[in-house]
Symmetry: C2
Subunit: 436 residues, 2 copies
């Protein structure tokens, strides 16, 4: 019976796209994963499957396999996926696997491992088609027919001269439009957009999406063509950067696979940010405590603490999110610094006036005594919201200018700072206007 | 002099990629935009340029041009971009432009305008290459040479039979590998992944990125091939959906181009969410007011309001952000409902215990009286954080099950609800344990 079940699972595996298999794996328990992977590991699909898998699941599965077997699997993977896999594994295992690889395959992967994984060098694949500019159209077509099988993105043909220096690009379609004996250098497009191995992955993603490219060539310092980054990897970068920004803005670390991590890691990733907000809360506690005398005289002040902190925190979150996302999508650049701050300041003034007035009237009619409580509350909401919108705008812009990830600024940091500033301001306004 | 300046700007425009021009336009004032656009409008570039521009800037510029001129420009645009432009314009202007278009161009665009812009039908281009399955390789190559100029993504050749029903796909590279007289139907890949005109754009993006496609064919109810969605449009969808989620999670509406909107619109987009949080704050005010007697007896309780609301709000934001992003990236699906809730509940218990204990000790040593204040504060932080992590997880999951956008749940709604729940719980714990 067992044998029959395995046979059926094998059939199912062969009918399923490796990307779908990887998707299903997220929903399985670790034991189920091991069982099914044992079957996948015996098929040709294993290399494709591993390239599609979430890193943490992949590492968990691969650690049990022999280095000899993994060396064969890694050799069958696209060079960029192979490098990503080796990078994710614990170092001793990765070294063992590399030791069992053939010299030239190992060399190719080790070249890629030299680059920072968040740069074009770390993203690029070295399996690409390039043709010397002195070839004719006929020769080029023959090369495509013969050699393109295992290459990525053969729709763009990169043209080189000399020692592999990038000189142009030609699409496969354009190649077909020219007579057989014309030389590539006479028909190629010389205006080729490229990036260098150390270009940051966000910039690579920007270039590919800005110019609607399917791939971008990567050159080294001597303008030698060393790889290409394809649009599917760019989509992954865009998704991953967005996920990291989401998590950072919520103060939940920047580990994209947090959902797949064991409980203690989930807790450790989130604790530091909560600790920062704990410190902020304790500060607010001391501040309120220092106004004990005023609070004693006008107990009603305590009722307004949540709304003042909340309105401030919420408008600051709006402003900082708009700015952080604007920076990420390029809708804000640093020349916009002042116009953006001024507009958010104005938004804060108008919304602060509206919600301050509303609360002021409500407070006035609810609490007859002290007479000016409504005024105090209204002014405080107005001032806190104006300040919060401005701070929420300025902080991410300053971080960006200091080359720090602006997403850190939103979430816990901003809301906690606004709690502290808001509460201080409120009690000072109360103390002054109510003459306490 | 004026003429010389215009000449120089013309040269600069011709040397700049239309996407870069569109990028620069974001930093210009409305008057500068008009001036430079007047020059662009006289060049061949105008159609490409308008396709790259942000919608709000495009509408502002186009409104001044004659419908006759715009009809010519729209005709030169890719059909999907043309439809997007007409959709963004005020209806009376769009109708005028369409009236001036040639019958067949108008028909093509009007077909596209029938679809919901957030579906595959709304995204697709109708300028694609398709070949009947009975053609030979030689005939196919000739068709590509002759007809592919104005088509999108000619690297995938879609193969049809009968009345244009999709039957397979062939890459341009594969076409070159076969002998000239073989028929396409004998070499095509029959396993073609497609979407239908009413497939939601998020699902289209999922399909393209999941299977690493450069384009996906769109079929109608009779499986007739009616268009293709290319990967560059998918990248735009992924970016736009992420931006909308960011804004929604911050309670700042879901207008992606909020930065380009005039001040009053910025304010109107943000006010409703702040009003919701205002209502929440007023509710918290009434709740605290109802515990006036207890507060009078133990004034120190007021000092802990910000930290209790803040720790609850922050852990809830973490949980809900992880869940919302997990749903968007497919790392959580609805079968995960209970495991996810239980894990977040456990995270809440552990972190609640840690930060509750910390605050309990601090409160105990700071306030000698009443004796159990430390215990009250510790238990409250523990309970609020556990509850907040759980609520922050459950609410987006429930919204998703009800087919409501889960991103709405985070930000103001969650933090304001936690404020109310947290403050109530804190005062009730205090009242009970301190026997007030």
């Amino acid at each position: 019976h067992r044998k029959g079940a395995v046979g059926n699972i094998r059939k199912l595996i062969f009918k399923t796209h490796p990307a779908d298999l990887a998707w299903v794996f997220r929903s399985l328990t670790p034991i189920e994963r091991k069982d099914i992977f044992e079957i996948i590991a015996q098929t040709e699909l294993v290399a494709d499957f591993l390239s599609e898998l979430d890193t943490s699941i992949m590492v968990e599965l691969v650690e049990d396999l022999s280095p000899e077997f993994m060396a064969k699997v890694v050799t069958r993977m696209a060079s960029d996926d192979a490098a990503d896999l080796l990078e994710a594994l614990p170092n001793d295992i990765a070294v063992e696997i590399r030791r069992h690889m053939q010299v030239d395959d190992r060399h190719e992967v080790e070249e890629l491992l030299k680059y920072d994984p968040e740069t074009a060098g770390g993203l690029m694949s070295t399996d690409f088609m390039y043709l010397d500019e002195d070839l004719t159209v006929e020769e080029a077509i023959r090369k495509v027919q013969k050699r393109s099988e295992e290459k990525e993105m053969v729709f763009y043909l990169y043209i080189t001269h000399g020692d592999g220096q990038l000189s142009g690009v030609l699409s496969l379609r354009e190649l077909l439009l020219h007579p057989p004996h014309r030389k590539l250098k006479n028909i190629m497009n010389r205006n080729v957009i490229s990036v260098t191995t150390d270009t940051d992955q966000e910039e690579v993603a920007h270039v590919v999406s800005q110019y609607n490219l399917l791939a971008v060539p990567v050159v080294d310092a001597t303008y030698k063509l060393v790889g290409i980054v394809t649009v599917d990897d760019v989509i992954d970068v865009i998704r991953e950067e967005a996920t990291e920004d989401f998590l950072q803005m919520a103060g939940a670390g920047r580990e994209r696979e947090i959902l797949l991590k064991p409980l203690y890691q989930k807790i450790l990733l989130r604790a530091p940010w909560l600790f920062a907000s704990w410190i902020g809360g304790v500060t607010a506690m001391f501040i309120i405590n220092s106004f004990q005398y005023e609070l004693q005289k006008v107990l009603a002040l305590a009722s307004f603490i949540p709304i003042i902190a909340g309105m401030g925190g919420n408008i600051a979150t709006q402003s900082s999110t708009i700015v952080v996302r604007g920076l990420a999508t390029g809708r804000i650049n640093m020349q916009h610094f002042f116009p953006v701050v001024i507009k958010e300041f104005l938004v804060g003034i108008v919304l602060g006036a509206v919600f301050g007035t509303l609360l002021g009237f409500l407070a006035h009619f609810k609490y007859a005594d002290p007479l000016y409580l409504g005024v105090v509350v209204g002014i405080s909401v107005f001032a806190v919201m104006t300040m919060a919108a401005t701070v929420g705008t300025i902080v991410p812009l300053i971080l960006k200018r200091l080359n720090i990830d602006a997403a850190i600024a939103t979430g816990p940091f901003i809301t906690t700072s606004i709690d502290i500033l808001g509460v201080s301001l409120f009690f000072m306004v109360a103390k002054t206007l109510l003459e306490l």
